[in-house]
Structure formats: structure tokens, C-alpha cells
């Protein structure tokens, strides 16, 4: 989803026009997954598939969050551990640990997540912009948020930044 769409959705919610504010159309779908207690999401169009944890071949001379490469039906796919990427402590992989393979601009990458949760619709009324706070590291990778019931807010990852970001 482009940033314009998000802005428009946020603007609609805040608009005085009741009709606009009440608009709750579906903008797309996200796949949600858990990392620790937090629920994250990735827009479904970037997701290629979900595969179980498998042996990862280490590759030297790469940052520690790149765990290595795996063979997905004769395609070599690099694997990023989201936990390490976001600076969270590593935990042992369990039977629920999954690899979600993504494809963005022909760059294929797999990400390791604690567990996959759900696929759900994105409603215009639920979208929130991220707070303008440059101190929070993970903000760089969050494009926007989806409010759920109670505290259940999902952070939607900006795949472009996740994959394209230049190493400083």
C-alpha cells in the first residue's frame, strides 16, 4: 500500500464529514505473525509462501541478522531473522517457528518469525500512522499500524525498507 493511501485513510477518519469518517471499506489483506508478544503484519501481495524451519546454510561476511541461505525448490533464498534485525534477543527455534518468503521487486528473501497468526482484511477505519518518533529503532521498518480490539495493535512492516535498506 502506498503512503498516499494510508494518509488518505487517516485523513478520512479525522474528517468532519460523517460519511467519510464512517467509511470502512477493505483496502487489502495482511498476513500477521508474532514476534514475542507483538503482532506484526505484512501485506499479502509480498508474501510468496510460508515454509517450516529448515537447515540454513551459513554464509560468511554478512551481518548477523542474515542467517544464511536455504533452498526453496531449487531457488536459493537468503534468510533474515526478524528478531535479530529488530535488536531483540534470539530465542531457540521451536516447531512453531516459520519462514515467510517474500518477494519485492524481484528480490526474494525469507524472514524467520516466531509463529504465523492469521490473514485478515485491512479496513480503512483501522489504519493509524506511526508516531513521529525517531528514537524508536523499529519505527524505520513500520509503515503503518492497524488498530484491533483492546491492545491488539498490529504493526505493518514496510517491505521495501526491510529489503532495500542500505547498510550504513
Amino acid at each position: 500500500m502506498t503512503n498516499d493511501v494510508i494518509k488518505e485513510a487517516v485523513a478520512k477518519q479525522q474528517s468532519g464529514d460523517r460519511k467519510l469518517a464512517a467509511d470502512n471499506s477493505i483496502l487489502g489483506k495482511v498476513m500477521t505473525f508474532n514476534i514475542g508478544e507483538q503482532v506484526y503484519g505484512i501485506e499479502i501481495q509480498y508474501v510468496t509462501e510460508i515454509i517450516g524451519m529448515q537447515h540454513i546454510t551459513k554464509v560468511p561476511h554478512v551481518p548477523n541478522y542474515i542467517k544464511g541461505i536455504i533452498n526453496v525448490r531449487s531457488k536459493v533464498v537468503p534468510i533474515v531473522d526478524i528478531r535479530t534485525r529488530f535488536g531483540k534477543p534470539e530465542i531457540p527455534y521451536t516447531s512453531r517457528t516459520c519462514i515467510i518468503t517474500l518477494n519485492f521487486n524481484d528480490i526474494a528473501v525469507g524472514i524467520i518469525v516466531d509463529s504465523v497468526a492469521d490473514v485478515e482484511d485491512i479496513h480503512t477505519g483501522d489504519i493509524s500512522a506511526t508516531p513521529e518518533n525517531k528514537n524508536v529503532n523499529t519505527n524505520d521498518f513500520i509503515q503503518y499500524m492497524i488498530r484491533g480490539e483492546g491492545d491488539n495493535t498490529k504493526l505493518i512492516l514496510d517491505v521495501a525498507k526491510l529489503l532495500d535498506e542500505q547498510e550504513a
Partner: protein, 715 residues
């Protein structure tokens, strides 16, 4: 500046391919005939045909300047073709045609580099003027020569001479286009345009094909009737008609097919004799003498004309069939498709071994399964070989270009040099051929410019033949192709090289420590050029290092072998193909690495007393009197392993580019043919490739092995 016409982009690729191959063909003919110093009539026809095709396709693509240029060249060759004896100054013609060919290549390259954008339209005015002058000159010579030679011969003057009455039969041809090819009228019009220049007399029916779309109906029903003068090169015209696009068939109708009669359906057209045409009607352009074979003979009498026409048709068909059979046995395929095919075959082979050595099958009695598996293995092996061979192209194309370069330089530098080509039919992978062209060209130029002595006297003093020799050879040797470019010139002067390197500040150790080989290798460094004078061909100091880089890009290596006063050889070694290599699998910790077998000299166990340690604690080993450094893989790549004692693991002596190192691994697994896959794009930003790994491969069990790049591992 000009732009490519919209809608034409789709055809550009085809145009470039076709025109470039035609130009290569042209160069080849020119070089061949120049050596023989004579044009065969076949060659002239071929050149004429090439120019003609280029003219047509350039005009179609909207490249007017190219079309005009080809047209003028064609005009010139027209005169030559009609009067093969006319060329008195052969080299002048050659230079001109080579210029045309070069201009073409330059313009095409300019267009190719700016597809979709604007390209610079070159001005060939000067060249076309030259061509026109040449044509006129040849023309006047021709008429001067031909007229006195045989009074009975049709005068080949400039247009006013009446054609011989006896040779003025008309030949009518009814052309049928393929069913449903659409726009028959325009196709007919194109056809007319193609043969117009060949005919001193030309009529066709329906006449309004260009403007009247309705005429296609007529053409579909009754065919397209073309009548031309029989004194023209009939075989040629018939061949043109036959090979024209979408022409299904044609028949030669010899009969009373004057304009009104042609309106009737084909079946009714009476097969009568053509009345001799009054000579005055033939006053179009310059009448041509009949085909070269019998210019002085008048055409066969009319009652034989049917027979003759049939013979002509037969021979034309034969020629066309011969030609088309050859053409049809070759197709051009997009390289991307071949790459895809290649990838799939690689995957099939991997998957096959996954199936055959599947752990689920362990311990089972599978007699017929094993038999089937063996058959499958044999077939996939054949499949792989075939796919590999598809990608192989001979080096001849590259070699031919060098021939051309040598020719030009021979003239410009005024050096008498024999160019010898050997093994040009050696085949290598297409992608390698492409990246080899520049390095070879550079080396050939260097040999011509710097290698061969400027002064013939120097050669005579040195006891060498006056004529220099430049050899370009290629040969296959155990999975590698070895290309050698050697001259018998002055060789590399170590002293000069040293002086130069010192001046440029390229020396990295005391001068006395440099071996002869190392001194020779200095010329491969960036910024090095020994020639004091920068010439048109070489000496800018960008070059040898680029040559080296290009060769290394295709996993090759370059060796210089030179002796002062005797000559220089550049030896390029490249693998046959990049995609599949024979590898030795080794393990380090939990990781599997593949070492290209071509780089492994030996592998061995080591005893503790063989190990030497220098003051810095670096380990070395002495093998047959030579000391090699030891590189511990687990340290290099930061891998945890239990095998850290040198005597517990295994050492592999690997060598590349005259550099050697012993790599230390846990153990050997075995030999395997592996399909090289590049690292994923996402990892491209990290410097993996610069650190001793060239790619990865998927092994039989589905796991991934990393391929060692011996070059960067040592360097």
C-alpha cells in the same frame, strides 16, 4: 538527432542481428577476396545481395542515411557486377567498402546504445559522394571497355544506346501469395520495388497496387502478374521473387500477356509467344548486358523460351531450395530462453539425484526401480550435454573480426604481417565469446602495434623473415579453452618495462627481487603502457588491465610469455562454460564447500613435523622443495569446527594465476558436477564474492554448498 519510429522497436533486435551478421559476412568476403586479389562473380553477387538487403531493411526501419549509403554501395557494385573486369584499382574499391561497413557498424552501435531515446544520425554525405564518384568512374571505364570489345554486344553505355532487338523477349511471372497473408496489394508493391532495379522493363498487373486496396482481391484470385524484359538477369529476378516474403508460388507464363489480356483470369491467359518488343520501348535506364556468361549472344529464340524459362525456374528453385534448406537448419533463439532452459536442466539433475538417492528408499530391494533410475540418469546426462552444446558457439566470428583489424592496421602502420588463424572452430559458451572479444582485440592490436618491429631492418638484423607473423589460435584442453595470441616481434624488453614501472611508481618491492615473469606481468597493471607514443590503436594505458579484468570475469586467466627479440605470446585460459563445474566437496564444521577441481593440484594428509611456522605464527608447508602458505578455512570464514589440528583434517593444494595456497578443511566428501548459482540479489551488497566465494550450488540432497573462488581466496 533522430528517434526510432514508434512501433519499430519490436523489430529492432531482429534488424540489428540481421544487419550485423550481414556486415560480418561482408567483411569475411572482402578479406577473403582481397587476399586472392580478385572478385569472383559469386562474391560480387553476394556483396550486392548483402547491400541490397541492408538497404531494404534500413529503409523499412526508417534509418534513411543507412539506406542511402547502402544504396550507393549497391549502385557501385551493380556496375562491377555487370562488368566484372572493370576494376582496375582493386584496393580502392576495398577501402571504400570497408569504410561503408565501418560507418554502418558505427551508426548501428549508436542506435543500439540509445534504444528508446534519441540517437545521433551520422552524416554519410562524404562517403556517399565517394561512392557515386566511384560508380561513375567504373561506369565510364565499363562503357569504354565494353564497346570496343565486341561490337555485337549490347552497349553498356550510359543510357542512350538501343537494346538489341533479338534479346528483348518479355518474361511474365504470375506470383501467388500465401493464403491469408493479408494486404496482398502492398506485398505485391514491395515485391515490385525489390526487383524494379534489376529490370530494364517492368510491367505489372494490377497496376494500382500501391493505392488501391481492392486490388488485393484480384491478386488473391488471379495472382500478381509481373512482366519484365528477358534480357535482364532472369535467374536473379526469379530468385528474388521466390524468396520474397509471403510468396507461396509463382509460375512463368510465356504468352500474350499484354496489359489488357492480363485482366483475364490466369487460366485463360494463352500460352503464346511473346512478340519481340520494339527496341524503343526499352529506353529505360541503361540497358544491361545479359548475364555475365554470354553477354554477346542474343537471347534464345522465342520458341525455345518456354523451355528456357522452365530451366531457369528449375535452377532458381534449386538454388533457392539449397539456400533455404541451409537457412532453415538454423534458428536464432533469445539467449534468455536458453538460460532458462539451462536452469531447468540443472534443476532436473538436482531433483533426479534427490529422488534416486532418497533416504526413504534405503534398505529396500528395488531392482526395477534401479534399472529405471539408471536409464533416467543416462537420459538426463544426454539432455545436459545437448543443452550445453546449444550454448556453444565457435570462436570463428571473433577471429574473423581480428582478421579485419589486422588488415586495417597492416595498411595504417605499414607493417608487413601474416595473420595466421588456427582452431577458429573451437567452441565456447556464448557468454564467454561475448566477453572475450574485447580482450582478444586489444591483444591483437598490441601485437601489431608494439610487438612487430616498426623497422623491417630490425627484423633482418635479428635474422627473422621480413614479413612478421601474428598467430591467433584456439584449442580445447581438458575443460578449458586456450587462446594464444603470439607475434614474432621484438618481445617485451624487461629493462624498459622496469624503467617504466619505476617511473610510474608501480613497483612494490626491491627491483632485484623481480623475476622475469613478474616483470612481464607488470604490463598488466592499470596505467601501464610502454609505448612512448600514444597511437590510434594502443598506448593509452587503459587496456592491459582491462584485458586482465575481462578475462578474469569469465573465470579465466592470462599468462604472458615473452622473450626479448624473439616475440611475445599472450595465453588466455578460460573454462568451457561458466554454469557447470567439476567440484570437490569438502566440509568445514557444518558447512560444505565446493572447490573447482581445475584449481586443485593435490590433496594430502599432513604430519606435524612438515609444518613450518614463521615469526608471525603463519603456518606453511614444504612440498617437494616449495613452500606454500596454509589457509585455515574455519578461520577464514569464521566457522566453528572440532577439527583444528592440521593433522586431523586434510590439506588441498590449490593453484591459480601462478599463486598457490594450501587450504585446510575437515575432510573430503567427494567429487561432483555442480550447477553454479549466483548468490541471491539481496546479498549482493555484502562483499561475499570478494572474499573467496563465487557462488553456491544445490547438492543432491537439497542442501546448499558454497563454491570457493580460488582467485579471491588467495588474493
Amino acid at each position: 538527432m533522430a528517434k526510432i519510429e514508434p512501433g519499430m522497436e519490436a523489430m529492432l533486435d531482429m534488424y540489428f542481428f540481421e544487419t550485423n551478421s550481414l556486415l560480418e559476412q561482408l567483411d569475411e568476403i572482402l578479406l577473403r577476396t582481397e587476399q586472392a586479389n580478385a572478385f569472383e562473380s559469386d562474391d560480387i553477387k553476394e556483396i550486392f545481395r548483402i547491400m541490397h538487403t541492408i538497404k531494404g531493411s534500413s529503409a523499412m526501419m526508417g534509418f534513411d542515411n543507412l539506406s542511402v549509403l547502402a544504396h550507393k554501395a549497391e549502385d557501385m557494385f551493380f556496375v562491377i557486377r555487370e562488368n566484372p573486369d572493370v576494376i582496375t584499382d582493386v584496393s580502392f574499391v576495398y577501402d571504400l567498402v570497408f569504410q561503408v561497413s565501418d560507418s554502418y557498424k558505427a551508426q548501428i552501435e549508436a542506435i543500439q546504445n540509445n534504444i528508446g531515446g534519441e540517437y545521433e544520425q551520422m552524416d554519410f554525405g562524404e562517403l556517399t559522394d565517394k561512392l557515386i564518384k566511384a560508380r561513375d568512374k567504373l561506369n565510364s571505364e565499363a562503357s569504354g571497355e565494353a564497346a570496343p570489345a565486341d561490337a555485337a554486344a549490347p552497349a553498356a553505355g550510359s543510357g542512350s544506346a538501343p537494346a538489341p532487338a533479338g534479346g528483348s523477349d518479355k518474361v511474365s511471372v504470375r506470383v501467388y501469395f500465401e493464403d491469408g497473408c493479408q494486404m496482398e496489394n502492398l506485398r505485391a508493391f514491395l515485391l515490385i520495388n525489390t526487383i524494379r532495379e534489376e529490370c530494364s522493363f517492368l510491367e505489372f498487373y494490377p497496376e494500382d497496387v500501391e493505392t488501391n486496396a481492392e486490388s488485393s482481391k484480384e491478386i488473391v484470385e488471379h495472382g500478381f502478374l509481373i512482366t519484365f524484359s528477358a534480357s535482364d538477369d532472369r535467374d536473379y529476378i526469379l530468385k528474388q521473387i521466390e524468396t520474397a516474403l509471403n510468396v507461396q508460388s509463382y509460375e512463368v507464363v510465356t504468352g500474350e500477356v499484354a496489359k489488357p489480356a492480363a485482366a483475364e483470369p490466369a487460366a485463360e491467359a494463352p500460352k503464346a509467344e511473346i512478340p519481340p518488343e520494339p527496341a524503343q520501348q526499352l529506353q529505360t535506364e541503361k540497358p544491361k548486358p545479359a548475364p555475365a556468361k554470354a553477354p554477346e549472344k542474343p537471347k534464345a529464340p522465342t520458341d525455345q523460351s518456354i523451355e528456357k524459362a522452365q530451366a531457369a525456374v528449375a535452377s532458381a528453385q534449386q538454388a533457392a531450395n539449397g539456400g533455404s534448406a541451409q537457412k532453415q537448419s538454423l534458428i536464432s533463439v533469445n539467449l534468455a530462453k536458453l538460460d532458462a532452459l539451462h536452469d531447468i536442466v540443472g534443476e532436473i539433475i538436482t531433483t533426479e539425484s534427490m529422488v534416486i538417492s532418497n533416504p526413504d528408499l534405503e534398505g529396500l530391494e528395488l531392482e526395477s526401480f534401479n534399472k529405471a533410475a539408471r536409464d533416467l540418469k543416462k537420459l538426463t546426462g544426454e539432455l545436459q550435454d545437448t543443452v550445453m552444446s546449444i550454448r556453444m558457439v565457435p570462436l570463428a566470428g571473433v577471429f574473423q573480426k581480428m582478421n579485419r583489424i589486422v588488415r586495417d592496421m597492416r595498411k595504417k602502420l605499414n607493417k608487413d604481417v601474416d595473420f595466421v588463424m588456427e582452431g577458429e572452430d573451437t567452441e565456447v559458451d556464448k557468454s564467454i565469446v561475448d566477453s572475450l572479444q574485447d580482450p582478444i582485440m586489444h591483444l591483437v592490436r598490441n601485437c601489431m602495434d608494439h610487438g612487430i618491429e616498426d623497422d623491417v631492418q630490425d627484423r633482418i638484423y635479428a635474422g627473422k623473415p621480413e614479413k612478421g607473423t601474428l598467430t591467433l589460435s584456439a584449442q580445447n584442453a581438458s575443460g578449458e579453452v586456450i587462446i594464444t595470441i603470439s607475434d614474432d616481434g621484438a618481445g617485451i624488453d624487461p629493462e624498459k618495462t622496469m624503467n617504466k614501472a619505476r617511473r610510474m611508481g608501480l613497483l612494490t618491492k626491491p627491483e632485484s627481487e623481480y623475476t622475469e615473469k613478474e616483470i612481464q606481468n607488470l604490463i598488466l597493471l592499470p596505467g601501464f603502457s610502454t609505448n612512448e607514443q600514444v597511437t590510434e590503436f594502443s598506448g593509452r594505458g587503459v587496456g592491459m588491465d582491462v584485458v586482465k579484468a575481462n578475462v578474469e570475469k569469465c573465470n579465466g586467466s592470462i599468462i604472458i610469455d615473452s622473450k626479448k627479440g624473439v616475440g611475445t605470446s599472450f595465453i588466455i585460459k578460460i573454462p568451457l562454460t561458466l554454469a557447470i563445474i567439476d567440484g570437490m566437496e569438502i566440509t568445514v564444521g557444518g558447512l560444505v564447500f565446493t572447490v573447482p577441481i581445475s584449481t586443485i593440484r593435490e590433496s594430502f594428509k599432513v604430519e606435524p613435523e612438515q609444518i613450518l611456522r614463521d615469526t608471525g605464527g603463519n603456518e606453511m608447508i614444504m612440498i617437494r622443495g616449495v613452500c606454500y602458505p596454509i589457509l585455515r578455512m574455519h578461520e577464514k570464514f569464521g566457522i566453528d569446527t572440532e577439527v583444528t589440528n592440521l593433522e586431523d583434517g586434510i590439506l588441498l593444494l590449490v593453484e591459480t594465476d601462478n599463486k598457490s595456497v594450501c587450504i585446510f578443511a575437515d575432510r573430503l566428501i567427494g567429487e561432483q558436477q555442480v550447477v553454479v548459482k549466483p548468490f541471491p540479489k539481496y546479498l549482493a551488497r555484502y562483499n561475499i564474492k570478494g572474499e573467496g566465494l563465487s557462488g553456491c550450488t544445490i547438492m543432491g540432497d537439497g542442501s546448499i554448498s558454497l563454491i570457493i573462488d580460488t582467485n579471491t581466496l588467495i588474493g
